[in-house]
């Protein structure tokens, strides 16, 4: 064992006084054993560093509890519900506008239901149910639908039922929850507004399968 071996790591760490460091450097020029020692200590230091990084990366992955997606999903759903509940006031207060039926009908993709603002809630429900096609049928159970009745929009709209597991990882959303997307169509046929609403029950998966 070389006399200098006890100073090599401190030298690597720049912790030696200048005279001692110079001495080590002179020695290293002549001693292959110490040179390979220095290489090994450098490597092991780097590996230790990488190990710490890997440990922290691994820890942060472990740090996410299994139930986190459920909570996040539930939180997202709650936010959507809150958003939905907040919507009626703003929508009712905003001036209703009438889209010309001809424009709506020209839209090639969808079944439209243009409703004048004066239509009574009950009538709206009736119309809406009547025009919703089976292929993109309204996924809502009747009680939920009737709650929605007085906030129906006055523009052409289609509803698409979306299984929750299409949007969230498995287990992230409580069993039985799905979403309904209300898609409003602009006069030129483009999507104007998309509103996502969570629903808890009454979804028949088979209806959305091709």
């Amino acid at each position: 064992m070389c006399d200098f071996s006890g100073k090599l790591i401190a030298w690597l760490d720049h912790e030696l006084p200048p005279e001692e460091a110079a001495e080590v450097e002179r020695h290293l020029a002549d001693c292959s054993e110490c040179r390979s020692g220095v290489d090994a200590y450098k490597r092991v230091s780097c590996e230790f560093d990488a190990y710490c990084d890997a440990a922290i990366a691994s820890n942060s992955r472990r740090g996410v509890p299994r139930w986190a997606p459920v909570v996040l999903g539930a939180g997202a759903a709650a936010a959507l519900v809150a958003l939905f509940l907040a919507m009626p006031q703003t929508r009712v207060e905003s001036p209703a506008f009438h889209r010309p039926q001809t424009v709506a009908a020209a839209s090639p993709v969808i079944v439209t239901n243009v409703m004048p603002a004066s239509v009574s809630p009950a009538e709206k429900v009736h119309r809406r149910q009547a025009v919703t096609p089976a292929s993109i049928r309204n996924a809502n159970a009747a009680p939920v639908q009737s709650q929605d009745a007085n906030v129906l929009p006055d523009e052409p709209m289609i509803q698409i039922a979306i299984p929750a597991d299409e949007m969230f990882p498995p287990g992230a959303v409580p069993e039985g929850m799905h979403f309904v997307a209300d898609l409003s169509i602009a006069a030129d046929g483009s999507a104007e507004r998309l509103r996502l609403r969570p629903r808890l029950a009454g979804f028949e998966r088979s209806t959305t399968q091709p």
Binding site: G6, I9, A10, D13, E15, A40, Y41, R43, V44, S45, E47, F48, D49, A50, Y51, C52, D53, A54, A55, I56, A57, S58, N59, S60, R61, R62, G63
Partner: protein
Amino acid sequence: MSGDAAPLALPLSRLSTGACEATTLYRELQKPLLRYLVCLGLSSDEAQDVVQDAFLILHRHLASGGSQENIRGWLFRVAHNQARNRQNRYDRNFAAASDVEMDAVSHEATPERAVLEKEKFQQLGKAIRLLTASERECLLLRASGLRYREIGEVLGIATSTVSDIVDRAIKKLAEKCNV
């Protein structure tokens, strides 16, 4: 009463500079501190809490006109002590990190290389487990960029002792890992 005005004004001005310094320091040192604490064996959440506490203490320290010398060492010392208080069993844990999947290091490697790297890390993990607590702490603080003098301040030991401990620990790892 006019004599009271000056002492009152002083802490306020210090508070604002202190807040500014603490924010800058937070940006610089938050990650190294978190890494140190997690590697000591704290969970991510615990580590986050400790870092928050440490910076809160730093803020108070600076606001009350505390010494601004070697703040980095000071922060590590506070965090280290906080970690000790919170996690009296943390010693078992750094090694526990070696039990976890080390695939984080192998993203860009070929499968063969990934396997080799994994083995190497497992070996290193075993070797680290065999180190004493102070050896691990010294190496972790050294990996966080602290000087031997600072490490000594954090752990409450002499600089020459730190030098000996680091020397011994690195040599143990090099030997066990056949580096």
